[in-house]
C-alpha cells in the first residue's frame, strides 16, 4: 500500500487530526509517521487517485487544521511515497532542510493576490494619451478596409497595453513586498495579468491587507484586485 503525504511538521506539533479525513472515497484515515524531530501526516493512498474537487478540498483541510496549531510544510497535492518506511527515511535524509523551513515559516501565512485589468479602460487611457493612436483609430473607423493601418493601430495599442501592465505588475509587487517576508510571482493567466503570492507574518497581516487595499484605490477602476488568504504557505516551502 502506497502512502499519500499531506504535510510535514515538527515533532512537537499537537497534530489534532480528529474529525477530518484524507483523500479518496471512502476518505482515507489520517495517521502520522514520526522520526526524531519531524512528523509526516499521511494516509494510505487511494487507488487511482485523481484531482477531484473532494480530494483537493480534503488535502487543503488537512493543511488548514495543522497550521492552526503551528508551522507545517504543505505538500503539493497528490504526492505519493512507496511506503511508510520510505517516507520516514525521506524525512531523515532532508531533516535539516525541513527543520529550517519549519522555523522560517513559523507564524507566517501565504496571501495570494490576483489582479485583473479592464482592457477597455486601459485602451481609453492609452488612446487619450496618444495622438497617433487617435488618428489611426479615426482613420480605420472610417475605412474598415484599411488593413495595414488596423494592424499598425493594434500594434501600437498592444505594445502600450503590455508596457503598462508590465509596469503595473512591477510596481504593485514592489509596493506590497515591503509588508511581506518573501514574494513569489507566477505567470499571468487569461483573466489576471498579475498572480503573486506573499509570505506574511501574522502580526503584519492587517498592515498587509491595508497595503493591498490602498494599492487598489490608487490604481483606480481599471484594475480589479482579489486577495486570498491566509493560506497554507504552498509557494514558500
Amino acid at each position: 500500500m502506497t502512502t499519500y503525504v499531506y504535510a510535514i511538521t515538527g515533532a512537537e506539533h499537537p497534530l489534532r487530526l480528529s474529525g477530518i479525513a484524507g483523500v479518496g472515497n471512502p476518505a482515507a484515515e489520517l495517521r502520522t509517521i514520526r522520526t526524531k524531530d519531524l512528523c509526516a501526516v499521511v494516509s494510505d493512498a487511494p487507488e487511482e487517485l485523481r484531482a477531484k474537487r473532494r480530494d483537493v478540498a480534503a488535502h487543503q483541510d488537512v493543511q488548514e487544521r495543522l497550521l492552526a496549531d503551528g508551522p507545517s510544510l504543505p505538500m503539493r497535492f497528490g504526492l505519493i511515497g512507496p511506503d511508510d518506511e520510505q517516507v520516514a527515511s525521506a524525512l531523515e535524509e532532508a531533516h535539516d532542510t525541513y527543520a529550517q523551513r519549519l522555523e522560517e515559516l513559523d507564524g507566517c501565512r501565504e496571501y495570494h493576490l490576483k489582479v485583473a485589468c479592464d482592457e477597455d479602460d486601459l485602451m481609453l487611457e492609452i488612446a487619450r494619451e496618444s495622438d497617433e493612436i487617435r488618428r489611426l483609430n479615426d482613420h480605420t473607423r472610417e475605412n474598415p478596409g484599411a488593413y495595414d493601418d488596423k494592424v499598425a493601430l493594434g500594434e501600437l495599442i498592444s505594445r502600450e497595453v503590455y508596457t503598462r501592465q508590465e509596469r503595473a505588475r512591477t510596481d504593485i509587487v514592489a509596493r506590497l513586498a515591503r509588508s511581506a517576508v518573501r514574494t513569489v510571482t507566477g505567470e499571468p493567466t487569461k483573466h489576471h495579468f498579475l498572480n503573486v503570492s506573499f509570505l506574511v507574518e501574522r502580526e503584519n497581516a492587517i498592515a498587509f491587507s491595508h497595503a493591498v487595499h490602498e494599492e487598489e484605490e490608487r490604481r483606480g477602476r481599471t484594475y480589479g484586485f482579489r486577495l486570498y488568504g491566509p493560506l497554507p504557505p504552498y509557494s514558500f516551502v
Binding site: G19, K52, A127, R182, H191
Partner: protein
C-alpha cells in the same frame, strides 16, 4: 477589492473549498515535493498560464485591439454607446464590467481553454476539480517559470 478569507480551522471536510478553485494552482502546482516520490497524474487538468509576450505580438491580437479600439467612444470616455449605458445602468456596474472581455483576453482565449469552463458553483462532488483540454505549447505547467524575489 475582494478579500477572500480562507477558513482558518476547517471543522469538517470541504468547509474551505468554496474558494478552492481560485487557489487551485497553488495546491496543484506548488507545495513541497519529495524528489523520489511520485505524483498523482493530473492528466486533463491544466492550469492555464500564458506567455503574454507571445500572445501580444501577433497580428491576430493587433486586429482585435484595433477593432476593440474602434468600438470605444474616445470622446466621452465611455466604453459602450451612451444609450446602452443608461439603460443598463448601475446594475452592471459592479458585476459585468469586471467580466467584460477585452481584446487581449479574447486573443488568449483562442489559444487555450480555460479551467473556468468546468467551474460551476453547484459542481458535483464527484466531478473533477477541474477539467480542461490540454492545449498548445503556449503555457504548459512544465514550462511555467517562477521568479523568486527578495
Amino acid at each position: 477589492m475582494t478579500v477572500v478569507q480562507q477558513s482558518k480551522n476547517a471543522p469538517t471536510s470541504g468547509s474551505g473549498s468554496g474558494n478552492l478553485y481560485d487557489v487551485l494552482e497553488l495546491i496543484l502546482d506548488r507545495g513541497l515535493v519529495i524528489d523520489a516520490f511520485v505524483r498523482v497524474s493530473l492528466v486533463g487538468i491544466e492550469i492555464l498560464k500564458i506567455d503574454v509576450r507571445v500572445v501580444v505580438a501577433s497580428v491576430d491580437t493587433y486586429l482585435r485591439f484595433a477593432e476593440a479600439c474602434n468600438r470605444l467612444d474616445l470622446e466621452s470616455g465611455s466604453k459602450a454607446p451612451s444609450q446602452l449605458t443608461e439603460l443598463v445602468g448601475e446594475a452592471t456596474e459592479n458585476g459585468a464590467r469586471r467580466k467584460s472581455k477585452g481584446a487581449l483576453a479574447g486573443a488568449v482565449e483562442a489559444i487555450g481553454d480555460s479551467l473556468h469552463q468546468g467551474r460551476e458553483p453547484e459542481q458535483e462532488e464527484h466531478e473533477e476539480a477541474h477539467t480542461g483540454r490540454k492545449t498548445s505549447a503556449t503555457g504548459g505547467r512544465r514550462t511555467a517559470r517562477r521568479r523568486e524575489e527578495d
